[in-house]
């Protein structure tokens, strides 16, 4: 693990994804190669159906490639079983979604504790870590509020707290600002940038908006299931 140069965490080689069979087959990904190193902030862009979401699902071990290999920290995870992939998500990945995806009628604190429950942490530790994560996203004092009592920006910050509470290796964000206005979006992007810088957290984000993509240190453009462009950029500060 971690033997390759530049500390490569994610290594996709010739990854294809085909949905359906025969004439009805849809080639969502056509043999893409992507390597992501530790500490990178990657934005994936592209029109709908370009394959960026499929790529994200494969990176998040929610889906498996039809062909090609996916190495996560040097380990081939493309052939793992369902439960093995769940364990990988549990221990190494954090997710932030466009629709926040918080549990309704459950307090912010409990939402953040959720990943730690599956890690089997005792209650006091869970509480402490969740509290710290909420403080890190600037939500101290909102612990007992349920998602319905929080604004969209606050909900997304709870979701980020939930994603980082288990100290993952990679944070996967699927259009994290898609449901937010510009001011809130920028706040969220500042948060992600901060975690990327300060905690050396690898961030992979899918977005439609150029403004948000500008925060990333690397930009990958998808088109028709292939990588069209992949380049480093000076990110905003």
């Amino acid at each position: 693990m971690g033997l390759s140069q530049d500390n490569v965490i994610i290594d996709l080689q010739g990854v294809s994804k085909v949905y359906g069979k025969g004439v009805a087959a849809v080639h969502a990904l056509r043999g893409i190669d992507i390597r992501i190193s530790s500490g990178e902030f990657v934005a994936m862009m592209g029109p709908s159906g370009s394959g960026k979401s499929t790529c994200m699902n494969i990176l998040g071990c929610l889906d498996t490639p039809t062909a090609g290999t996916y190495q996560f920290e040097g380990e081939d995870v493309s052939r793992l079983t369902r439960d093995q992939r769940a364990l990988l998500r549990r221990h190494y990945l954090g997710f932030v979604f466009q629709g926040f995806n918080l549990l309704a009628r459950t307090t912010a604190l409990e939402n953040v504790e959720l990943p730690l429950i599956y890690r089997g942490l005792p209650a006091e530790e869970r509480r402490q870590y969740a509290q710290e994560a909420l403080t890190a996203v600037g939500l101290q004092g909102w612990e007992t509020h349920s998602p319905a009592e929080l604004s969209g920006g606050q909900q997304q910050r709870v979701a980020i707290a939930r994603a980082i509470v288990s100290k993952p290796t990679v944070l996967l964000a699927d259009e994290p600002t898609g449901n937010l206005d510009t001011a809130r979006s920028l706040e969220i992007m500042d948060l992600l940038t901060r975690f990327n810088r300060e905690q050396h957290l690898t961030v992979v984000m899918v977005t439609h908006e150029v403004e948000m993509a500008a925060y990333a240190s690397r930009l990958i453009h998808f088109r028709d299931g292939s990588v069209e462009q992949d380049h480093q950029q000076d990110n905003l500060t």
Partner: protein, 401 residues
């Protein structure tokens, strides 16, 4: 971890309180019905047993003639006092023998009269039939030997003729004879086979022969077996002796019969138990229906919470974590229903037993069994919805609206 899952399940149940209550109702009714039926059945069995025991323990009754069904008897010569003496002398294991003769007649006191059964017998009657006295005394040897006009009356006769008056020492009229009341038998209540055990007048056998019947017939012999002696064995011995005394050869049918109360008790208890079992089985069907209700609601719940399941799977829940979550929820639901069913059953058992005049029996065994059964219903009917939840594809589940 399991505690967390339980809390989670409990909160999911509270969240939809109305729906959860209605779902549980099936189990509540099922469990309550099963337990109540069994409790009432046990109560009835105990009552039957008690009533038979009150007739006299180990009681056998020898009557002339054969029963021909519906209370009819074939005609046959009556017994004599010699038959009774022979049984007492020759049959081993007999505690007491009481030769008796009886007749239905009207008894009169003052301007009141009451139609009852007058039985001529001896003091063994009290032991054999488990009759104790509430007041007065039993017959003296002199009264028995000389056939004096004295009698012991039952509670029903006392109530009908004397009301609030003291019957002891009063004279009642049986046919042409005036008879002094010397004793009052303690009440024994209704017999299980119908008939009031307190509706009786006892006189010395000789008094009955001389002043009432005008013959020296013994119309039935009652005897009790000693404790620990098989009543079946005594019955067989009595039958053998009577065959000999009444000159009945092997291939002739008997012109007498011996009834063993133990045997009747067993039959009656058996019948009650079969009925209890049947009612319990019918009630168990409603428990099954309750289980199907739980499965239905759990399936709805899984569909409603598809997104939640998607989130849990995405952040690292294993299939069995989700399976367990929904299974525990179903089991909690059904177990709560079970507990409520038990409480309802206790209430129902008390009120229905009171209404039906049965002794209250709360059988802890059946309550425990019903509780575990209701939990098992949760496991069985919760499994399919839980498995459906656990096998959801996280990507589709997250996209679910």
């Amino acid at each position: 971890m399991l505690w967390n899952i339980f809390l989670l399940a409990f909160r999911a149940i509270i969240r939809n309180l109305m729906r959860s209550t209605l779902t549980m109702l099936g189990i509540v009714i099922g469990v309550a019905a099963v337990i109540t039926m069994v409790n009432l059945g046990r109560g009835a069995t105990i009552q039957v047993t008690n009533q038979i025991a009150s007739l006299g323990s180990n009681l056998l009754i020898v009557r002339p003639g054969q029963r021909m069904g519906h209370g009819q008897r074939s005609a046959a010569p009556p017994f004599t006092i010699k038959d009774s003496e022979a049984i007492a002398r020759d049959v081993p294991g007999v505690a007491a023998v009481s030769p008796s003769a009886s007749q239905a007649m009207v008894v009169v006191y003052g301007n009141l009269n009451w139609s009852t059964n007058v039985t001529g017998t001896d003091n063994h009657y009290f032991g054999v039939r488990n009759v104790t006295l509430a007041a007065g005394r039993i017959f003296t040897e002199a009264e028995l030997r000389s056939g004096l006009a004295v009698c012991v009356i039952g509670e029903t006769v006392r109530r009908e003729l004397f009301g609030s008056l003291d019957p002891i020492g009063a004279k009642i009229r049986l046919k042409k004879i005036s008879c002094e009341v010397i004793g009052l038998a303690a009440s024994k209540g209704q017999a299980s086979m119908g008939g009031d055990q307190d509706d009786m007048v006892l006189v010395p056998l000789r008094t009955f022969w001389r002043r009432i019947a005008g013959n020296r017939d013994v119309t039935f012999i009652q005897l009790s077996a000693r404790d620990g002696v098989s009543t079946t064995k005594v019955k067989n011995d009595v039958e053998a002796l009577m065959h000999e005394r009444r000159h009945i050869s092997g291939n002739e049918s008997d012109d007498f019969n011996v009834r063993d109360l133990q045997e009747i008790a067993t039959t009656l208890t058996g019948t009650t138990q079969v009925l209890t079992g049947l009612l319990g089985a019918v009630a168990a069907v409603s428990l099954l229906v309750g289980g199907i209700g739980i499965m239905n609601i759990m399936l709805v719940s899984v569909t409603e919470r598809t997104r939640e399941i998607g989130i849990r799977l995405a952040i690292g829940a294993l299939e069995r974590d989700v399976l367990l979550q929904f299974l525990v929820e179903a089991v909690t639901l059904s177990s709560l229903g079970g507990i409520m069913g038990i409480l309802l059953a206790v209430l129902a058992s008390y009120s229905l037993s009171g209404l039906m005049g049965l002794p209250v029996v709360l059988s802890p065994g059946i309550m425990l069994l019903a509780f575990f059964f209701s939990a098992a219903v949760g496991v069985i009917f919760g499994y399919i919805p839980a498995r459906k939840a656990a096998r959801l594809n996280p990507i589709d589940a997250l996209r679910h609206e």
